[in-house]
Amino acid sequence: MNPLAGREAVAPNQPRPGRRISIAQRRERWGFLFVLPVTLFLLIVILGPLLFGFWISLHSWNPLASLTEAKWVGWRNYEFLLTLDKRFLPSLINSGYYAVARVIGNVVIGLALAMLMNYPKLKGLRFWRVALFLPMATSPVVLGHMWANMFHKDFGILNTITGFLGFPAVGWMTNPDTALIAVIIMGTYQFVGYYAIVFLAGLQGIPEEYAEAASIDGANGWQQFWYITLPQLTPVIAFVTVMSTISGLQVFDLVISSTDGGPADATNTVVLQMYKTVFVNGRAGQGAAMAFILFAILMALSVIQLRLLREQRS
């Protein structure tokens, strides 16, 4: 139905005599009104805490005390973290190692699993999808405890198996040389199924004609993968890389429930350090400053990653 039906025809850009606003303007205003609740909600729920967090990062405040006790310190929290604090930068490096290793694991293993699931003769695809997605749907705290038991030096299944094969027992989570590797394995296990499903969706979106044409031209399987599948998957790889980097740098629950950052701070990640700074050490200002430094890093990394992939794609 035409909403203007039955109304007087008006020449474009000519204001109607006796009326001040056009229909388009009125619609626009109604539009503003409709988005107002959402805008207010976002301002309160997202921007509010963000601004409050930033305000806190410029103060010295123990969360046990009243907020009125917060003392203005300016940029000193940031300065302390970047110059004097001996635990913040190492924790950031640990998170960096974890994120990079997990991105590689998620892309390589996730893509391999997706290609297996995309194999036309594979039976029980639905079962494999559910099985792969299950770790993602499991609580990270439960996963942390589960893997801590599997990695246990004396009773863990991993050392039991390697013991049968004649290898000495490894203190996966009790030795600073292996603890981060153990956490990376846990993290990759948790997310790889989810990303495999994402890759599978990407693979299924590639027209089969491309592969057929390449096959007629004599391209072998590897060449088809390298010159057709991989370039077609660039947006999916970009998505997986960005999301995996962000969640990798934010790892917390898996670590606190398995190693609690130890031994010798080998698995102390930046978000765990942030949590301890606020709730154990009672320095909410420094914790908030850490959060903003991490935020800036994540923003910069995401922009760089997306630009690189866009350039590569173009």
Binding site: N62, A65, L84, K153, T174, A264, V280, G282
Partner: protein, 453 residues
Amino acid sequence: MSKRNHLMRMFFPQGKLILVAALLLAGCAPAATPTSAPANTNAPEPTQAAGPTQPPAPVKLSISNHLVNETWHAGLETYLAEYNQLHPNVTVEQISTAFADLQARVATDQLGDNPPDLYQLPAWWVGNLAQSGILSEVPADIVADVQKNYPQGVIDAVTWDGKIHGVPMDANTTVMLYNKAMLAEAGYSRPPETLAELKEYALKLTKKDAEGNTIQYGYSEWVGNLNSEYLPFASLLYSNGGDIFAEDMSKSAFNSPEGVEVLTLMTDLVQAGAFNPELTYTDWYTDRVAITVLPNWVRFYLTTYNDPAAFGSAPVPHGNGKESGAIVYSWFIFVNEKSPNKEAAWDFIRWFTQETLGEGKPTRCAQFYYDIASVMPARFGDLEAMKDVFSTDVFPAFVEAQSYARAPLAFPQYEEAVNIINVELENAWFLKKTPEEALNDAAEQVDALLQMP
């Protein structure tokens, strides 16, 4: 048209319709409470000067603790029910949070509208809690009671800035524990008394299989726990004549030659395969370790998983010509400054920590802690009332240590400092740093904390 009217019409051209809708919505809202007074279940009802038959106003107290273990929670629940029976107008309920989440819980409670009236928390948080204004003023009679009935180390543990801030509930001292059968098998008739002997014993008590793998460790600690790493180190440091901080608390002192000597002893044992920093206390009570230094709560695990009679206890080995040292730490109970029922809350504390279960019997607090985890009481009267229990198996050395043990230094950043020291101890134990480097790095970070306002 005025600017205001224009804006109103611009955004609310159907103003009348919106007004009707708003009125309809308002009509659907619950009716406003006729009185302006907010409902507060904690607030005592106004008393009337009517006469003696007026029952006392009901009071609901809440107590926040870490007793998430079902048995422990139920253990305290029994006493709370008893208190409720004796004081029909008072109800005390527990809010239990896992220890790992306790600090975050306290912080969020304090930001909320209705924080608990009472807290059972580690006394090494006393500086931080006092600085945050959570601790309410302890009544004079309770201060006098604590000063009279508790050992100095325990009093110091609940003291910050010269003031007692709560009532100690238990006493955990550190002593050396050893496996009697292992020492006897190695030909030792007594435990080591000096640091040199400790090293000698630990090396001799270490057993290796044909492939060179250690199957029995001479010495070990529980790595990865706040108190189980720092406390043995601090106890050995005190026993070697060293100190954690300078007397005026201006800087660290644990990186002194005495501290380096203690840590070097440990790393020497690591290199010889006699001390494995990957072990935990479970390895000790399951007969894989001969000697350790731990607080007395470990006795609970001995009764659960082994035989306490198979183990011996003795003061921490000392440096030549020096006296053994130890640390005593405690948990304490206090009233929240924000509690609207402070008087009732302190009454509960008096009942729980001072009144005994009968003539010659301990207080409920002492009985409760012993029953749930073999934890030692701090109150002289309780130790006397339970002397039959505390003169058996590993207890005597722990009890004796109460007389000379020192409290953890209750400065606000205590836990952070201990975490820093633990990380650097681990760096030395895992041979990532030399003992001197590790302690100097720890001292540098802890000194920065001491300078914080």
